[in-house]
Every structure is written in C-alpha cells, then in structure tokens.
Amino acid sequence: MADIDIGSAAIGRTAFIQGARTLIETANPANGDGEISKVEIFAVSGYNLTGCKVATFINEGGTTFSTRGYETIGGVTGGSKQTFTGLEMAVQTGDYLGIYWSNRGRLEQDVYGEGYWSVTSDKIPCESQTIGLGSDYKATSIYGEGELAGGVNVEVEVPLAEITSAVNAPTMLLDRKFPVPLVALDCAVNAPTMVLDRKFSVPLAEISSAVHAPTMVRDRVFDVPLAEISTAVNAPSLVLDRIFGVPLSAIDCAVFVPGVGLGAEIAVPLAGIDIVAFAPTLVRDRIFAIPLSEIAVAVFAPTVGLSSIIIVPLSEITAQVFAPDLSLGATVTVPLSEITAAVFVPTLIRDSVFAVPVVNIDAALFTPTFIRDRIFSIPLASIDAAVFAPDISLGINLSIPLAEIDVAALVPALLRDCIFSIPLADIDLEAFAPAFIADATIIVPLSEIAVAVFAPTLDIWGRRLRVRVITSQYRGVQPITSQYRKVKAITGGAH
C-alpha cells in the first residue's frame, strides 16, 4: 500500500454526479504528510470530463477550504478507471481530495458513503473559500496516493545568518548529508527547486549540523577528498581553512557579500552587489559597454544579447561590487570574467590557476583592486567550471551547458524579485545579506526555508512561506505542529 492515500475508490458506481463543479470528497482524508503523485478517476461512459484539475484541500473549519496543492490534468475519459501519474500535489494529514471539471461530464457516485462538498464554480486553487456540503452519504470515484515526506519534515529554529550559510553551501549539504543519486545532485546545483521539491530522508541531527550550524562545518578542518572541495565554492571558508590556513573569522561572509560580513561599512546598495554576485557567469562571460541598469536587465534575462563582446565602464560595476567605497568615475576596459571569478572563488581560482601567494590572496579578498587591476589569462572554461561546478572542474570534467546553470542556479535575483513582490533591496537584506539582521532569529520549516531562498518559484506557483521572527536563540528541533500547516510569510513586505 502506498504511504498516503486519500479519497474514495475510483470504481464504477450505481449513480453519478453531473455538471461543472468543484467537488471535494469527504471520505478518507489524507493519512500522512507528503505528496500525492497518482490520482484515479472514474467518469461515466459517454460523459467525459473536460478541463479537469485535482487538488488537496485544507478544511479550515466548517465548509471553508483552501487548496494546498493542485494540478491540471485536462480531460478525463469516461467508461473506465483513468490513472494519472507524474503528479506533484503537496498533502498533509487531514487534507481532502477534490476535483474540478468544466462541462456536463459525470463522475461515478454511489448513493451511500460519506459524502462530498461541492460548488458549481472553479475553486482550484482557492484560499478560504466556502464550499457547501453537497451530500453526507454519497461517495465519489476520485482517489489519490502518494509518498510520505522525508526526514526534513520538521520545524527548527535557526538564526537567519546560519540559514544563509546553508544557502550558500547547498551542494555541500546535498553532497555530504543526503543520500541522493548523482542525477539529483546535479539538479541540486543546476536547478535547486528540483532538489527542494524532493523529500529527503536524513537524520535530523545531520541536517542540524549542516544546515543550522554551519559554523561548525566552517570551523572544522576536514580531511576530505578533492571532490568534496566543491564545498569550497559555496563554503569558501572551508577551503581557506584547509588550504591556506587563513583565520576564518573575517573571511566567511566576505566571499559572498564582501564587506557585509566583515562588519565594515559599505556605501553601496546591496542590490548592486547582488546583481553581480548571484549571476557571475553572465557578467564574467561578457564585457559590457552598457549602464549598470542594463546589466541588471541582462542578468535577469541572461539569454538576451549574450553573443556580443562590448566594452563597459568598469567603474560602474567594480565600484559597487568590489570596492563600494570607491566613487564611480574612470572607465576601464577589462574582461569582467576574471574579476567575477576571482570574487566568487578567489581561493580556488587563484590557487589552482594563478599561484598567487597566500598573503596576496588575503589581500585580494579585502582589497578588490588587487583583483581588478589584473587581467588573467585563463581559459574561460576553467573559470566556469571552478565557479559553478567546482567538483567537476577539479576533476577536469565539465559537461553541463552553462546556459542551463546560469538560469537555474545563478539567477536567484530574478526569482527572488518575483516571489515576494517587494523591493529588491528588502529581499536582499533578508535572503542574501543576513548580516544586516543577524540579530534576529526566525522560525521556519526547513522546506520553507528552501522555498524562500532557493525556490521562490514554488511560492510563485502557489505555495506560501511562513517566517516568524523571535527573540530567542536556537531552541532545537520540534515537530511540525498544526499551527504551521498553513504557512504564510509575515516578514516585512512578503505576502
């Protein structure tokens, strides 16, 4: 038997229900938290259903419902049980299965059973809508099955800063903590949303240590094979510690958001940093001769105008990215590629390609002009590999089309901007520069953290995030409680 089932058996019955409507089966609410991946429907022969959608419904009391997950399935042919697979509908214990169809089609129904709620309009998706009781004794032939969520189905409290560390080290977490196949790992790097959609089974303790206590990871000196140095890119402090013996205290945050984590004053909008910081390939691969604003556009739509090489006033970009305290002014012609690469994977690239002394590397980290003033002759492929797929690069194997990587993995700003519908600067503060609010602690389910940071598309397409600010520090792991079943973002500006 499947992990989770929901609804009544999809079988031929003695009667039917006809006409366009949203119908929720009252029988057999879901018996677990996870995902419905298969739905069966039995429509009456000759009365095909059209425009069908199926959904999991949350009963908010009485006849008030919200959809938790839904999927469009299209037409349903009558006369035999129709099985739909490949679905991905979130479900939690107690949810009900529902269906909408848009024509005069008929669903098989019995004059006995538990009943159904129904309304003659499309309520998929919906939020806190009234769907009246249609019958309390009729069973309808819609049934679903799915799989339980994995071990991350817990709620934990973590400082936002630590979440961000986890965000910046997703490959490390996936690689080291989750028993996922290589395919999934690729997905993790290239399309994080796919990974986030997955339910992992992993001991909570390991998650905690990796995700919620990144400092522990950072501060340790790992005896790891080269392949695991991939973590270096996303958790550069680890590599710095291992290879260079540099004190970590000031470096950790500097790599991803130079200047912020150091506690130093910066005189630049974070958006300016983020644009380049999270879409380095685009910038790196091109030499621009366009205003920064247009670069931002290019970053968010990286497929546009990528073929040409143009000249850009470097100052506009450099000043914000590397040396925010510098004034914009001089125009310099320089391939941005090397600069960007150096910023994001300075240790890796410098060490393996440029052989710069450690002392200079340190200087480079905190003296961007050191990097900016140099034009490195390095094959672009090497840089790409180092930046985006360091483990592969180190193994001298790179087979990932960069375009795919760029869009999926390194344009979060685009997704970020879309989901929250708030000014980018505000998002930056919360999602990518937690140092600004490092004194706050939030409560958020791990999966929802992922949604917030990596997979805003999930939010875009119907999920919601709850983030609650608290004053206490880490309080350990607690099971999800019903109060968090319906999650809503309540942080500033987020909907």
Binding site: G46, T72, T77, S80, T83, T85, E88, T457
Partner: protein
Amino acid sequence: MATAKFNETGTHIQHGFLKIRIDLYPDVSSKTHKLHYVDKPIIPESGIPKRLTDEEFQAWLEGLPTEKELNPCLCHFIKIDTTATRPALEAEIKGTFDKPTFRQLDDLLSDIDKPEKRLRLGQLMKPKAGRGKVIPYSTDAKKLVKKVNTRFGGLEVEVG
C-alpha cells in the same frame, strides 16, 4: 505494445516546470486492453441537443447506439524543456515507456486494485517525471502552452 499519444489538454505549468501529458493506449494483446475497451454512445453528427434538462439529456444519451472505444490505460505527466523538439520528445517517450516498463505497467494496471500493485505502479512511474528545467517566471504561460500544444499536437509514438 501500446501507443503513447500527446494529450494537449494536460499541458500546464506547475511549480515553474512545463508539464505535458502522455496517454498510453494498450494494444489488443495487452492485459489492460479489455479493461479500457468500453462501450460508448455514438453522438450523431448533429451534435448534442441544447437546452435539455439533465434528465432529458440522460434519456437522449441512453437512447443512442453504442460502439466500442479504447480509453487510455495510463495518463502520465512529464516535465520537459520549453525548447524540446518533436524528435526529442518522441525519444523521451520511448525511453519512458520502454519494453520492460510497459510490460510492468500492463501487468500492474491490469490488476490495479491489489495494494501491492498500486504501490509498485507508484514506484515505477515516480522516477519517470522527465527532466525539464525550471522556466523563467516571466514566461507567458498561456503562450507557452499554446506553442507546446502546436509543436506536439497529434504526436503518437509506438512504445513497449
């Protein structure tokens, strides 16, 4: 053997992924064929009468002659890239419903009321969800769906 057909009514975007629906029609030698080869009323060329009550409509429908028609035994959704070509999709469908897979499907779907077979069906199809990439949020969903349906309309692939 079976025929896999692209069903444009199922094309949609979910969680940022483009998903399409493939309907699997078993051939006569398949175990599932008899389950889905069903009687259906023959709708006259004049179409369905308008302004009938439900009861009148039912009476009209029940008075029609019937014929046998084959329903799909499985409707499976896969994620595809927006740039996927017709040959690429054909190849993916053939890979998804290769011979061993279809044999298992036919066996499982022919006796799907058994709990162990239901479970195995889920396990069999869960990994075959396609490998389409996340699409940009700025994508016009309606245009994309229309474009995909035009590109793949009428696609049929012999599988299994």
